[in-house]
């Protein structure tokens, strides 16, 4: 099974995945194939340096996502992965993708509903 791996430690919330996807799927206002969620900012009491602030984004694959099947069949990347400015998204077989999850930084492995 294929999925999308996100090293969300580095997601910047730039919206490129959302617009890239929306344009390919031709979705109207209010509908998305991938949608960013934002967490924070908040300050952790008593923490300093890199651990002081929480402010993270993770995109969610919606029911509209088909992992860009026509594109990947043609050898291309899914739109979200290709355009991710933070370069923190990967597409592939989930077992292989999972091997990148190293515990050093934060990751999320997403698999959309593919059967219709």
């Amino acid at each position: 099974m294929n999925g999308i791996l996100i090293n969300y430690e580095y997601c910047t919330g730039c919206h490129s995945c959302e617009v890239a996807c929306k344009k390919r799927l031709g979705l109207p206002e209010g509908e998305f194939g991938i949608r960013l969620t934002e967490t924070g900012p908040w300050e952790y009491a008593g923490k300093s340096g890199e651990d002081r602030w929480e402010w993270s984004w993770v995109p969610v694959l919606t029911k509209a996502c088909d992992l860009c099947a026509d594109r990947t069949d043609a050898g291309k990347m899914p739109m979200c992965v290709q355009h991710c400015q933070a370069w923190c998204m990967y597409h592939g077989e989930v077992g292989e993708l999972a091997r990148k999850m190293d515990g050093e930084t934060r990751w999320a492995l997403l698999t959309p509903r593919l059967a219709r």
Binding site: T12, C14, H15, K23, E29, K76, M77, W87, C88
Partner: protein, 840 residues
């Protein structure tokens, strides 16, 4: 990413048609090219443009492009919506002067008729009236690939060198950083994220910075100054640690080892205190300082010497802490972290240009890079030049203007003379001085201002200080030509002649702004729109036929000349005047005024060659490190920097020649000085307002007509702290007035839990293309305009740096029935009596 080779290995190159620049795919024609996001930005990313029946249908990033590797921002991804916007200007129009502000009064005309009207007007009202061409002012914006085109049009076509931006006091964008580094180090330093190399992150010499200082900017949103902010995220993925110096928490601050949330306008104090720590603790790069820097001992002594400027404390962390509000320990620890990094790099932003001690802040940061040896080495601040020395810019205005008009250009010296002050120096800046032009507009001294040409600028809606004042001043021009892709508030308010411009995707054009040289190939046409280059050729051949018929009789000659001479003044034997690019101001007499591109290709390289080879070419100059040691920076070929002494001058004699104190000193705007010392004033204006906060959706005042952008960002947001929200009873989504002695505007509340209580953060450039274009509304361009609260005629030494980002004000809730700023300004006499000329 982190593993660039893995990325390259996994791309199916055939699927992306490697080696082809244009092909057919699923019924579309696909073109591999570069594009400025619609209509403009500072960058040109590699795209694949899908067209059908002369219409742009979709856009993708090009994963085979080494410059941006297929990544695109949301604006470029939405390019078809911007390009195919139904209300774009399609043909030239005219309108009677008395109908200004009425968008329904425009009448379609031909390009020929527009040219006749413009030529006749200039002939009758300028030339035959005995005035010089200096009575014509040219106003430009930024980005959108106009940085040389509009000054060039001013000089070569209209023959004036009064080219600038109305109400843009203090040259407050980029010029201070350019001049503030050109003086001490002779070139411009940018963070080395491998962008100088065609093999990018794989380059064997390149190493990521160990410490990155992100200072006064959010490069991810602004992508300013030809620099892609997300390049730096790749560095962080590879291990770069972060120091953030910014009153606003950014992506960088939330991930930083140290976040220094200083008071706006006090950046120089942090820089001086860092220098104090680094020199006192001897954390400098001794070899680099010994071999390549001048005046180190003088700098060290100066920093430790108590003076009035440092409250008798020396430029110590204790002093800086008092002024900036950042605690002393953090200042010391962050200084050590930068200095001790094997490779440190500083990404600096607009606030360096928007404070009154701007030039000194730039000098101090140059000194930091220098004493730590973080110059032109891998993973530090790289010294860059425009690829192939293709350098057209502001200098072209003065080069090609009528010599008498050029001699009368409005400069800072002009302003000082008009104000009865003794000028300290001769002018050294290409752009005309905006306060001097404002003075001329208001007093008709030293000569009348009669005609205005605005191309790709939204004037009072965007960057112009004191909207009410500059709206009045612009309206006083007798004849105004506006050229733009859209019906902007500026076009609606002022245009007597309105010319439709092509978008980037419809233009044959090229760019450098560092590396690489990139071709932008037109893939569609729209109505009767002309490109900026086509307008130059159209106008120049009529108004300046002697020059144009020889050099630029048609668009092909013009485009080729960009590659061959970069529009340098050139004689038949090849000698001429060469524009100096961004490493210094002005132009030099040279034996060969051709570009490096011309020399490299023996004069045979063409625009279409560049397009067909994939659209880009890297210049070897920017691919090299330690150019100072290799004799690559000085025109005489000797090792060293392009400064008078050949060394980086830590105390700047060039500043002195420019009439600026060579020793860095901190001083603040009148408003900030009062805000910090006068309790009554602070009661009246409890907030420092940080202006011009950037967002992913918009480039300055652009993109507001795109529904997709507005879905993400429907209205202007003003950020307030949690404490302020509680104190004023504000909820997210509520509208508040932001007000001071100059005027007021309204924006929509967003609560920022990381903001200090006495700051608010406002957006700029808002108008509402869906609204009424007629006056007084003018697309709502006054109502949310933060520049209703800013003012002209306050700048730093040398006339450089205006306090855009550290004004003061109060807030209160918007109530039903409140008078809109548009009505107040256009129908009720404004917020205040506009002060006499020269007064803020």
């Amino acid at each position: 990413m982190a593993d660039y080779q893995e990325f390259l290995d996994t791309i199916d190159r055939a699927a992306y048609h490697e080696g082809e620049w244009q092909w057919e795919e699923d019924g579309y024609t696909v073109t591999r090219t570069y594009n400025y996001s619609a209509p403009g930005c500072h960058d040109s990313c590699g795209i694949l443009a899908y067209t059908k029946d002369n219409k742009l249908v979709k856009v993708e990033g090009d994963p085979l492009d080494p410059c941006t590797n297929g990544k695109l921002c949301m604006r470029c991804l939405n390019l078809p919506e911007a390009t195919n916007y139904p209300d774009r200007l399609k043909y030239p129009m005219k309108r009677k002067r008395e109908d200004r502000g009425n968008v329904d009064a425009f009448e379609r005309i031909s390009w020929d008729e527009a040219l006749d009207i413009i030529e006749d007007w200039i002939k009758t009202n300028i030339d035959e009236a005995g005035l010089g061409r200096e009575s014509i002012m040219v106003n430009h914006g930024t980005g959108r690939n106009i940085n040389y085109q509009v000054p060039f049009l001013g000089g070569a076509c209209l023959r004036t060198s009064n080219v600038g931006a109305i109400g843009f006091s203090g040259y407050s964008c980029y010029l201070p950083r350019v001049c503030g580094t050109a003086a001490p180090m002779g070139d411009f330093p940018i963070v080395d994220a491998s962008m100088g190399h065609p093999d990018r992150y794989n380059n064997p010499e390149w190493v990521h910075p160990d410490v990155l200082v992100v200072w006064g900017c959010e490069p991810l949103r602004s992508n300013a100054d030809g620099y892609i902010g997300h390049w730096l995220v790749q560095c962080v993925q590879m291990g770069t640690k972060i120091i953030s110096i910014d009153p606003i928490l950014t992506w960088w601050g939330a991930r930083a080892t140290h976040w220094l949330d200083l008071r706006p306008g006090t950046d120089l104090c942090i820089a001086l205190a860092w220098l104090y720590v680094i020199t006192q603790e001897d954390l400098i790069d001794h070899e680099f300082v010994d071999c390549w820097c001048a005046y180190y001992d003088e700098l060290k002594t100066y920093l430790a010497t108590p003076s009035e400027n440092n409250d008798g404390l020396g430029y110590t962390p204790e002093w800086a802490s008092r002024v900036t509000g950042v605690d002393e320990e953090t200042i010391v620890a962050s200084a050590r972290m930068y200095a001790n990094a094997p490779r440190g790099a500083i990404q600096w932003g607009l606030p360096f240009d928007t404070q009154v001690d701007s030039m000194h802040a730039c000098l101090a940061v140059s000194d930091l890079m220098a004493v730590c040896g973080n110059i032109d080495r891998p993973g530090t601040n790289l010294l860059v030049r425009n690829a192939f020395e293709i350098n057209p810019g502001y200098a072209t205005a003065s080069m090609y203007a009528d010599p008498e008009a050029a001699a009368k250009k409005c400069t800072y010296k002009t302003l000082q003379q008009l104000q009865g002050k003794e000028p300290k120096a001769e002018p050294f800046i290409g752009m005309a001085d905006c306060d001097a032009m404002c003075y001329a507009m208001e007093t008709q001294q030293p000569y009348p201002m009669k005609m205005l040409w605005v191309q790709g600028s939204n004037t009072y809606t965007c960057n112009g200080l004191d909207t009410a004042r500059i709206y009045r001043n612009i309206m006083n021009f007798e004849f105004i030509v506006v050229a733009d892709p859209y019906m902007t508030p500026t076009a609606a308010a002022f245009a007597d002649i309105l010319l439709p411009l092509k978008m980037s995707i419809e233009r044959d054009s090229m760019r450098v702004w560092w590396q690489p040289l990139r071709a932008m190939k037109a893939v569609t046409t729209f109505g009767e729109c002309k490109s900026d280059e086509e307008i130059i050729v159209w106008l120049g051949n009529r108004l300046n036929p002697e020059l144009f018929s020889k050099r630029w009789p048609d668009i092909d000659h013009f485009i080729q000349d960009y590659l061959d001479t970069g529009f340098n003044l050139i004689n038949e034997d090849g000698s001429g005047l060469k524009t100096a690019g961004r490493n210094k101001a002005g132009a030099d007499v040279v034996a060969d005024a051709h570009t490096e591109f011309y020399r490299k290709h023996g004069g045979t390289g063409t625009f279409m060659d560049l397009v067909q080879q994939g659209g880009y070419e890297y210049d070897e100059f920017n691919d090299e490190y330690e150019k100072y040691a290799k004799g690559m920076l000085r025109s005489d070929g000797t090792p060293g920097f392009a400064t008078p002494s050949g060394r980086i001058e830590l105390i700047s004699p060039t500043f002195q020649a420019w009439g600026i104190d060579p020793w860095p000193k901190h001083y603040e705007s009148v408003a900030q000085s009062m805000w910090t010392t006068d309790e009554e004033y602070r009661k009246e204006y409890p907030f420092t307002i940080i202006n011009g906060n950037r967002s992913y959706e918009f480039f300055h005042s652009e993109n507001r007509q795109q529904k997709t952008m507005r879905e993400f960002h429907p209205v202007p947001y003003v950020q307030v702290s949690k404490q302020t929200a509680e104190e004023y009873g504000l909820a997210e989504g509520e509208w508040i007035w932001i007000e001071n002695h100059v005027g007021r505007c309204k924006q929509c509340v967003k609560i920022n839990p990381a903001l200090q209580p006495h700051y608010i953060v406002a957006e700029h450039g808002w108008w509402f293309p869906e609204g009424d274009g007629n006056a007084p509304s003018l697309f709502g361009s006054f109502d949310c305009n933060i520049n209703n609260l800013t003012y002209s005629f306050e700048t730093g030494e040398g006339g450089i740096g205006a306090p855009y980002k550290s004004i003061v004000g109060r807030i209160y809730k918007v109530k039903d029935g409140d008078t809109l700023p548009s009505v107040q300004i256009l129908e009720k006499g404004g917020f205040r009596e506009i002060p006499p000329c020269g007064v803020s």
